[in-house]
């Protein structure tokens, strides 16, 4: 059996990569992809909890996992909506050029 800490190290590595991308990157789409990576890291952590936890903890973990999956899926759909909208309007994807959130 793989030690649970090794899986958590993957989670922290994914979060570290994602935070670095959010800090450095200016492209809105890539920033949203980095946010998706943070969701992926939380998914991996919760699945580790389900795999290594008790039966009660596993049930709670599944509830948390479904919540994370739902939000991650919504984030992808929102990302596509943002992309299509901004592309159609000719907006730049450079976040340093965005100055308002009106639609």
């Amino acid at each position: 059996m793989i030690p649970v800490y090794y899986i958590l190290y993957i989670c922290t590595a994914l979060v570290g990569v994602a935070l670095a991308a959010i800090a450095v990157e200016r492209n809105l789409i890539v920033i949203m992809l980095a946010v998706e990576l943070i969701f992926l890291a939380s998914t991996v952590a919760v699945v580790a909890f389900i795999a290594y936890g008790s039966s009660t903890g596993g049930a709670l973990g599944v509830m948390a996992l479904i919540s994370i999956w739902a939000v991650a899926a919504i984030e992808i759909i929102t990302l596509v909506a943002f992309y299509v909208y901004m592309k159609a309007r000719g907006y730049s994807f450079d976040v340093s050029l965005l100055s308002k959130m009106r639609w």
């Binding site: 800490y5 993957i10 789409i29 992809l33 998914t43 909890f49 290594y52 973990g61 759909i77």
Partner: protein, 157 residues
């Protein structure tokens, strides 16, 4: 001699984190999304390795097969220039190590190595009601996102 399962796990872990980092280095947005898809695939293999076959299947079907394909089709035409690669690598390494030390070391000292499951289980049980509130709030946010998307679609179609 390390066990084959452990070797496979390390290989998949390196692949998953490498694919995640590759999102930043790609010039084409489509390749960035494909890197994210590979990272999803790697996580599904990790789920399989730790014995969660059903969750691995859901991860593959929903995220790799469905949402990632949707995303690839949507953003396939956009290019971008990678920037500040050195800063990204330095920050990613610093944050990864820093988060590991800050989050995992105290848990290892107070709970003992390998007791993450007990720690997480007690935390989940203590905040059971709060988790329901958070889940409902997230559901509300999801519904609000759908409304926003409908508004966007109405504006551009």
């Amino acid at each position: 001699m390390p066990e084959p399962e452990f070797v496979l796990f390390v290989a998949v872990a390196v692949f998953t984190v490498g694919a995640a980092a590759a999102i930043f280095f790609q010039k084409s947005l489509m390749r960035s999304v494909m890197s994210l898809t590979l990272s999803f695939t790697g996580s599904a293999v990790i789920f399989y390795i730790i014995g969660q076959n059903v969750l691995a299947l859901i991860q593959l079907l929903v995220f790799v097969g469905g949402l990632s394909t949707y995303l690839i089709v949507a953003v396939s035409s956009e290019n971008r220039e990678p920037r500040r690669t050195g800063a990204f690598v330095a920050l990613a390494v610093f944050l990864s190590i820093g988060l590991s030390v800050a989050l995992l070391a105290p848990m290892a000292i107070t709970q003992g190595a390998g007791n993450f499951a007990n720690y997480a289980s007690s935390a989940f049980n203590s905040y059971y009601a709060l988790l329901y509130v958070i889940a409902l709030a997230l559901f509300g946010a999801a519904m609000a996102s759908v409304l926003v998307i409908r508004r966007f679609v109405r504006l551009i179609v």
